[in-house]
């Protein structure tokens, strides 16, 4: 029986290999036993100068603010003004509308590849709002919300996705691997994990220059297994770097579940404990909790107290990318009954509960944003889509290898006849 782990040894006292399996596969009953939930408002908010040792428990619970009925409770409630909440809601909704549009564009053959962050919007958006505009971000491909929350032009994001003639990256990168120096977003790598220690290096540089800016890095729970994750935490601890090290636990790598990355016996947040770093485990679909935890870590880093590890527990509601069908490896209904709900719905309910929002205004806003995206798409598509219309000149293929083009690249450009 292949699925079953042969824990029952064949011979008395014989060893056996444990292969972690998710609690649910297509066609099986659902059970979120390993989620380690806490009641919203239940966990304390320690003082900034608390030592990592004082607050180890925060790595094992789940920091939350929003209750089921949309109220904001407990010490982590950031008490944000409505305008900020509306900005956050808008950015999350815009991110989702953007994703939907680009996903369809890929399906229509306008580009080669796309990745959505549906269900995870609170992570990048709330964190973008909690950070200063000039703090430096080292994201993965799933934090497009950072760019959107920081006001990066949608049409330019699309230019990159289409590799068209206006693509700021000159058609060199796979779709969604943006780079936006002027918006404090580092060039996104196709290689998992590498940005994590780079974020620490940037933070060390900021400290070295007695600057005030801090850095933030993001990594998926699956990628925490890479050596770069360990290097980042080690260097951050040793040099007390002003950096926030985020682990986005959206439950899946591509097809493999979080257990394959090693959280069967300890949550990812607790990885920080062994380095003496404060570690917070946060409801990543709770906009207020994400904002509050990030603000706490940012204040701490700016006070020269060093790095914080934050695990953001969320759920990847869409496929990993346009290249996979998630229903092959997980139950299709899982997303709908995900215990932590949807970040947009939850912030919306909160605003409504606060009397600051309504279903009508929500529907209205949604329409506006879809229109905004459509307009941007029209603009970008008018320039070109992958293989159609205007594209970067082929000569640029041989540029930016070095600042100055050496003889061999000049020669190759000539051979290419461009």
């Amino acid at each position: 029986m292949p699925r079953a782990n042969r824990h029952a040894p064949l011979r008395p006292n014989a060893l056996s290999l444990r292969i972690p399996e998710p609690r649910e596969r297509p066609g099986e009953p659902l059970d979120f036993g390993n989620l380690r939930l806490s009641r919203p408002g239940a966990l304390p908010r320690p003082p900034l100068d608390a030592t990592a040792a004082d607050i180890r428990d925060l790595a094992y619970g789940l920091i939350g603010v929003l209750t089921k009925d949309g109220r904001a409770v407990g010490p982590w409630n950031p008490g944000l003004p409505v305008q900020v909440l509306e900005r956050g809601l808008r950015a999350m909704m815009l991110t989702r509308a953007y994703d939907d549009r680009m996903y369809r564009a890929q399906r229509q053959g306008k580009t080669s590849f796309y990745m959505k962050c549906t269900g995870e919007e609170a992570v990048a958006v709330a964190q973008a709002l909690a950070l200063a505009a000039d703090d430096m971000c080292f994201p993965t491909y799933r934090q497009q919300g950072l760019l959107i929350a920081r006001g990066y032009p949608l049409a330019e994001m699309m230019d990159q996705v289409f590799s068209n003639g206006r693509d700021p990256l000159k058609g060199r990168q796979l779709p969604v691997l943006y780079s936006a120096r002027d918006f404090g977003v580092f060039s996104i790598s196709g290689n998992l994990g590498t940005q994590y220690s780079q974020a620490v290096g940037w933070a060390m540089a900021s400290a070295y220059k007695h600057d005030r800016r801090i850095a933030a890095g993001w990594i998926g729970e699956g990628s925490t297994a890479e050596g770069d994750f360990h290097h980042a935490l080690t260097f951050a601890a040793v040099y007390r770097a002003p950096v926030i090290l985020n682990i986005v636990n959206n439950q899946y790598a591509i097809s493999s579940f979080h257990g394959i990355a090693g959280d069967a016996d300890a949550p990812f947040a607790s990885r920080g404990i062994g380095y003496g770093l404060p570690a917070l485990r946060v409801d990543g679909n709770d906009f207020l909790a994400v904002f509050a935890a990030t603000a706490w870590a940012a204040e701490r880093a700016r006070a020269n107290l060093g790095a914080t590890v934050i695990e953001l527990v969320t759920y990847r509601a869409a496929g990993h990318s346009t290249s996979d069908d998630p229903n092959v490896y997980r139950p299709p209904e899982e997303a709908k009954i995900w215990p932590l709900g949807d970040p947009i719905d939850r912030l919306k309910s909160h605003l409504i509960a606060e009397g600051a929002w309504s279903e009508e205004r929500h529907a209205e806003l949604e329409k506006t944003l879809i229109e905004e995206v459509r307009a941007a798409a029209r603009e970008a598509e008018a320039v070109g889509t992958l293989g159609v219309g205007d594209k970067p000149s082929s000569a640029t293929m041989f540029e930016d290898i070095f600042r100055d083009q050496p003889w061999h690249l000049r020669e190759q450009r000539q051979q290419a006849g461009v």
Binding site: E21, G222, S255, S256, V328, H408
Partner: protein, 338 residues
């Protein structure tokens, strides 16, 4: 014999070895329940059990480090690196451990592991899903590097690699998983089923490592190629009418030097084609070897047609890929130089 595409052939090779040898096991990112992002291990976990084919953490260095220990125990792990572009985190374990273990332990320990990795361009994968890093392994003493160009060879070579007493880096030209892509991206791809080399025995068989295959006999120019470039070279020969002798190296290291020199001594001319960046690519070694051994037979400079010395840019898939036009033009130059 059944017609297989390359993915089916690789799957069949692993299925066959899981059946024959309980010391063979397979692991890698997404290879278990899901069957791999290119489906190469599809159904193997269900058929052979979880311990024989399972998912692993995203840590290529860990995948290989663990394989070294398994090999020392006596197993024959087959590890999938999801894309060759992601093999670098494992580079230290491969170079410092896998390649050197037999030597440094004077044969006490060996490393009979197989490292599978899809490689090469032509799929709009951008710079991190299109690389051809073979030369980074041919420079390392202690590694064998194998690259099949047909389903039949893919199965026979993979079984030979798994049974080999030493480590094998097995690079799979993913662009030809489904059909013999010849660089004509503007035309529909002919499926393997229509190609004679898709005839693949359903059971156990091997294609010996270290032996090249002459896929086209000719007297004018020797073309040295491997992987997808074999099919591009054949197209270029057909289209230019140059009477090229096209050699599919299959095992690029240790390379079949006898087959190469015999052909170049006959033709007096040589063209080398690969997708990898030009500088210090494996073409450089081939060029040096041919020049050293066939100098007095050479009637024209040996040429290299390769990828440019740039990352593989998403928007310029076909400007980067060394297709039949570039190979053909070089073929003419080499053939016609007097």
């Amino acid at each position: 014999m059944p017609a297989m595409n390359m993915v089916q052939a690789l799957n069949s090779a692993m299925d066959c070895m899981l059946e024959r040898d309980e010391n063979v096991l397979i692991y890698g990112e997404d290879v278990g329940y899901f069957g791999g992002v290119f489906r190469a291990t599809e159904g193997l976990q269900k058929k052979h059990g979880q311990e024989r084919c399972f998912d692993a953490p995203i840590a290529e260095g860990g995948l290989i480090g663990v394989a070294v220990g398994m090999g020392a125990y006596g197993l024959r792990p087959v590890v999938e690196i999801q894309f060759a572009d992601y093999i670098y985190p494992a580079y230290d374990q491969i170079v410092s451990e896998v390649a050197r273990l037999r030597y440094r332990s004077a044969g006490q320990f060996s490393c009979p592991i197989t490292i599978r990795a899809p490689y090469g361009g032509g799929i709009f994968g951008g710079q991190t899903h299109s690389q051809s890093p073979e030369a980074l392994f041919t420079h390392v003493a202690g590694l064998k590097v194998v690259i099949p160009a047909t389903p039949h060879d893919a199965k026979g070579l993979l079984i030979a690699a798994i049974e080999d007493p030493d480590p094998v880096v097995f690079l799979e030209p993913k662009r030809i998983y489904n059909g013999p892509f010849d660089g004509h991206h503007e035309r529909p791809l002919t499926p393997w089923a229509k190609h004679p080399d898709s005839d693949t025995p359903p059971g156990y068989f091997t294609v010996p490592l270290g032996r090249a295959r002459t896929v086209r006999e000719g007297g004018a120019v020797t073309v040295l190629a491997y992987g997808t470039m074999v099919h591009v070279a054949l197209a270029a020969a057909a289209e230019t009418g140059v009477d090229a002798e096209v050699i599919d190296l299959r095992t690029i290291w240790p390379v079949d030097i006898a087959a190469i020199t015999a052909s170049v001594e006959k033709t007096g001319r040589c063209l080398i084609a690969h997708e990898a960046t030009r500088t210090s690519g494996f073409g450089a070694e081939l060029s040096a070897l041919v020049q050293e051994r066939c100098f007095w037979h050479l009637q024209a400079p040996i040429e290299r047609v390769t990828g440019w010395d740039t990352p593989y840019p998403h928007a310029f898939e076909w400007e980067y890929f060394p297709g039949p036009a570039r190979v053909g033009a070089a073929l003419r130059r080499v053939a016609e130089t007097r």
